[in-house]
């Protein structure tokens, strides 16, 4: 093994009950480089990071750090060995000062009284070299997110860390702050620190990355140097900064690695009635979205596709009255001005949310009580809840969706993911809305139930309902949707009509920013 490899991953496996999160991963991380790790949600990148930083234990394969076998049992053990993490949620205490945060947990004390720490000078030097506007006696809560990150970085570096893992560090930073963070990263690299950089913003890789590893479905689908992915033979002759065209092409290549080969499931067109426009969205913008325009017809399934962070969920949120927006929404040609979810429901929208357990089910309640939740008057009889009506309703939907449960009295929390999702969809259908939005309708659902849910969605469209599907699974989108809205960075890149042999490369190019 050459000396310039700091982390060597061989056949790394991680099994959770029922799920293989990592299926034998091999790659090397070179000393003193910025190594980017990308992949869609659930691809395995965070599992890998958790094993590396001691939050999880591996179940197979090997991991070598500085040439020695490395199997940390705790985050502290990994930290002591020299691997620190900069988490997405900041771990500073707002009501302590910079100095108190830097020394937290490492204070020198005499009889419980805090003494002046000696390591402070070193930490201060680190902070000064990264951001000279931070003073030791500043309370941390007046600092910006980027400045708090600097404090965390300084804290990590003070424990002789040689590998710094940055988990989506740019997610909550302004553009200006991202610039400064990148400068920081470059300085750290100059000091010989290896940085593992996780990000959903692919273009960032071409600004600071040296290498990139792509995860998909628990496997490593490629580890390449950044020049290589940008189309250069080697670092020689490769420019310091790339032009936009090169970056877009390279991002498309990364997206291909992230998504893999799309198995073309037959697309069956639904019986859309393109003479009846049900919904029209005009020039909608908000804090996450820029100039969104699209329309939806009766009996149509409209799909929203984009990488994580492209803004799919945000489209659902403003349509459902959760987020504020500027622009216009027309339903049946009339301008709407609802401001909350109740208004959206009255306007004829219904939503199957992305986070089923958090936003979808009432876990402790039986199936029978879950289904009427979005339209209680469907089970009322002279103003009181009628058990007979509840039972009838539950039986109807459980049969229609073939929900596998002991009986209608079973608490929803104890159903499988697929059956929970069916209950959520039933709850939504009972609303009898004209426009049904489904955010990641088959996430965490097994293959069989997935097909059933797809059939249900198709059936609804054929009954004349208009459907909007938000999904990060391209096969689902190409299988199901009549038209596909491709999103990139909060904007609509293009709206394409689905057909049997749709140009997947083109889709990948658009969602990669082309």
């Amino acid at each position: 093994m050459s000396n310039d490899v700091i982390i060597e991953v061989r056949g790394l496996e991680k099994e959770f009950p029922g799920v293989r999160a990592l299926k034998g991963v091999d790659f090397d991380i070179k000393r003193g480089t910025v190594h980017c790790v990308v992949g869609e949600n659930g691809a395995g990148k965070s599992t890998f990071i958790k094993i590396l930083t001691g939050a999880h234990r591996r179940t197979g394969g090997s991991l070598k750090f500085n040439g020695n076998d490395f199997d940390p049992k705790s985050i502290r053990e990994a930290m002591n060995a020299g691997i620190s993490v900069l988490y997405q949620e900041l771990n500073v205490v707002d009501d302590l000062t910079t100095e108190e945060n830097l020394t937290l947990g490492k204070e020198k004390s005499k009889f419980g009284f805090i003494q002046k720490s000696d390591g402070l000078g070193k930490m201060m030097d680190i902070i000064r070299s990264l951001d000279d506007s931070i003073e030791l006696d500043m309370p941390v809560d007046i600092l910006s997110v980027a400045q708090k990150q600097v404090i965390e970085i300084a804290k990590a570096l003070s424990t002789d860390c040689s590998v710094l893992v940055m988990d989506e560090p740019t997610a909550s930073l302004s553009e200006d702050e991202v610039r400064r963070l990148f400068l920081t990263v470059k300085k750290l690299k100059e000091q010989g620190i290896t940085i593992i950089f996780i990000s959903h913003k692919l273009s960032e890789i071409f600004e600071i990355g040296d290498y990139v590893t792509v995860f998909r479905d628990g496997e490593m689908t490629g580890t390449k140097s950044v020049p290589e992915i940008a189309g250069y033979e080697d670092a020689l002759g490769c420019p310091d900064t790339f032009d936009d065209k090169t970056i877009t092409d390279a991002c498309t290549e990364l997206v291909r690695l992230m998504i893999g080969k799309v198995i073309d499931q037959a697309y069956i067109a639904s019986e859309s009635d393109y003479s009846q426009k049900l919904l029209e969205v005009k020039n909608v913008s908000n804090h996450r979205l820029h100039d969104i325009n699209f329309d939806l017809y009766k009996g149509e399934i409209l799909g929203f596709y984009g990488l994580v962070g492209a803004g799919k969920t945000e489209v659902g949120r403003f349509l459902y009255g959760i987020d504020n927006y500027e622009g216009d929404i027309f339903v049946n040609g009339e301008k709407c001005d609802y401001k909350n979810v109740i208004g959206a429901l009255e306007q004829g929208f219904a939503m199957v949310p992305e986070e089923r357990r958090v936003d979808g089910i009432f876990g402790q309640l039986p199936i029978r009580a879950n289904i009427p939740m979005m339209r209680m008057d469907s089970v009322l009889s002279s103003g009181l809840i009628s058990r007979i009506k509840e039972n009838k309703l539950a039986d109807k939907f459980m049969k229609m969706m073939s929900v596998a449960a002991k009986d209608r009295e079973q608490a929803v929390a104890f159903l499988s993911g697929g059956n929970q999702q069916k209950v959520v969809i039933a709850k939504c259908l009972n609303r009898d809305a004209d426009i049904i939005m489904l955010d990641e309708p088959t996430r965490g659902v097994d293959v069989g139930a997935k097909e059933e849910i797809h059939d249900i969605i198709r059936g609804l469209a054929n009954e004349g309902k208009s459907i909007i599907v938000f999904s990060s699974e391209l096969p689902e989108i190409t299988h199901l949707c009549d038209r596909i809205v491709l999103m990139y960075d909060g904007s609509i890149g293009e709206i394409v009509k689905n057909k049997k042999d749709i140009d997947i490369d083109h889709i990948m190019n658009i969602v990669a920013g082309g």
Binding site: I75, R76, M79, Y87, E89, N91, V92, V93, D94, D95, L96, E100, N101, L104, G105, K106, E107, S109, G112, F113, I114, S133, D141, I142, L143, S144, V145, A146, S174, D176, E177
Partner: protein, 337 residues
């Protein structure tokens, strides 16, 4: 630019300072409304009334900084107060032990108070109970035991002659109670500002994850704080018995909530992460002045309770608004850079 000037007047915007102004305003109001209020004797009286709140409030503030409650302090005070009285009047008749000297009895009940703290701490840190539930349970247990010890009766005679000294006498013109309070404030302010216990308490309440990743053991800290608060409640129990010069198992009913209100008024939020001893002290002063002043104005007790509620809600609004404002300036600072 005028950074120095800004810093010099920064205290004006501190919630604690505004609270102090509220305290002063209440004093002026009552002094103008009734001639009975603004008198040295009345102020001495108020010092005595607020002593127990402040002493126990010192521990409760620390607990609340870590996002924990102690609802058992009122019962703890009653139990330790009644046992203290019992020990100095009767000793332990069952074991044939004669009435104990004040100091011995005092040490014993402080240990008892601390043991109640240990139980609270075990329930919370070892068995994972919510602090609300654990200490609510302990509140009933303590109150029941206090009543059981004396069969529901109070002890009104047979005291040694210096029984009431701590609660009523002065040394060099200063009431003993006052000395106790000042000592508690100084000790706990130092604990807060200068020791690991104080800093780690703030850290645990402020950001649990940060504390965890920094290698702080929250259970140890919370346990320590429950023990301290239990012991403080026992000290307050001894002082209460001495001040009233009798032992009453029904004393300190509702005391836990008075302490809670003082701590909240003083700017320690239920969610923890911040707080000051001096804030709690001012909170206790406001509660005391309010009760005493309304009394002096001959306003019915019922209305006093209503006012207490209004002041509490008003203070929480004040604190949360200050926080909001601060956050706004942070956002602006962020975009400016």
């Amino acid at each position: 630019m005028n950074k120095l000037n800004k810093e010099r007047f920064a205290f004006l915007k501190q919630p604690t300072f505004i609270l102090f102004l509220v305290f002063v305003a209440l004093n002026v109001f009552f002094a103008l409304s009734t001639p009975r209020f603004f008198k040295l004797s009345n102020y001495m009286n108020m010092v005595k009334q607020s002593t127990m709140i402040m002493i126990v409030g010192c521990g409760a503030t620390f607990l609340m900084m870590t996002e924990h409650l102690d609802l058992s302090v009122g019962s703890n005070l009653a139990l330790t107060s009644i046992i203290y009285t019992f020990l100095v009047v009767f000793g332990i008749p069952g074991l044939g032990i004669a009435p104990l000297p004040l100091l011995t009895a005092g040490i014993i009940v402080i240990i008892i108070g601390a043991v109640i703290g240990v139980l609270n701490g075990l329930l919370v840190t070892k068995f994972g109970f919510e602090s609300f539930i654990a200490t609510l349970g302990m509140m009933y247990i303590g109150r029941g035991l206090a009543l059981a010890v004396v069969g529901g009766n109070s002890i009104r005679s047979g005291f040694p002659e210096n029984f009431g000294v701590l609660g009523n006498d002065k040394v060099l013109g200063i009431p003993y109670l006052f000395i106790f309070v000042i000592a508690a404030i100084v000790i706990f302010t130092v604990l807060h500002k200068k020791t690991l216990l104080g800093k780690h308490s703030v850290a645990i309440g402020g950001n649990k994850n940060a504390a965890f990743f920094s290698g702080i053991n929250p259970k140890k800290i919370v346990m320590t704080l429950y023990i301290i608060t239990g012991a403080l409640a026992a000290v307050a129990g001894i002082l209460t018995a001495s001040r009233l010069e009798h032992g009453d198992p029904r004393t300190g009913t509702g005391f836990e909530f008075t302490v809670l209100v003082a701590v909240l008024l003083g700017g320690t939020p239920l969610s923890g992460g911040k707080g000051t001893i001096i804030g709690t002290v001012i909170g206790a002063m406001i509660i005391t002045v309010l009760g005493n002043g309304l009394n002096a104005m001959d306003i019915l007790k019922f209305w006093q309770i209503v006012f207490k509620g209004i002041i509490l809600i008003g203070a929480i609004v004040l604190h949360s608004q200050m926080r909001e404002k601060r956050r706004m300036t942070v956002v602006n600072a962020g975009t400016r850079s």
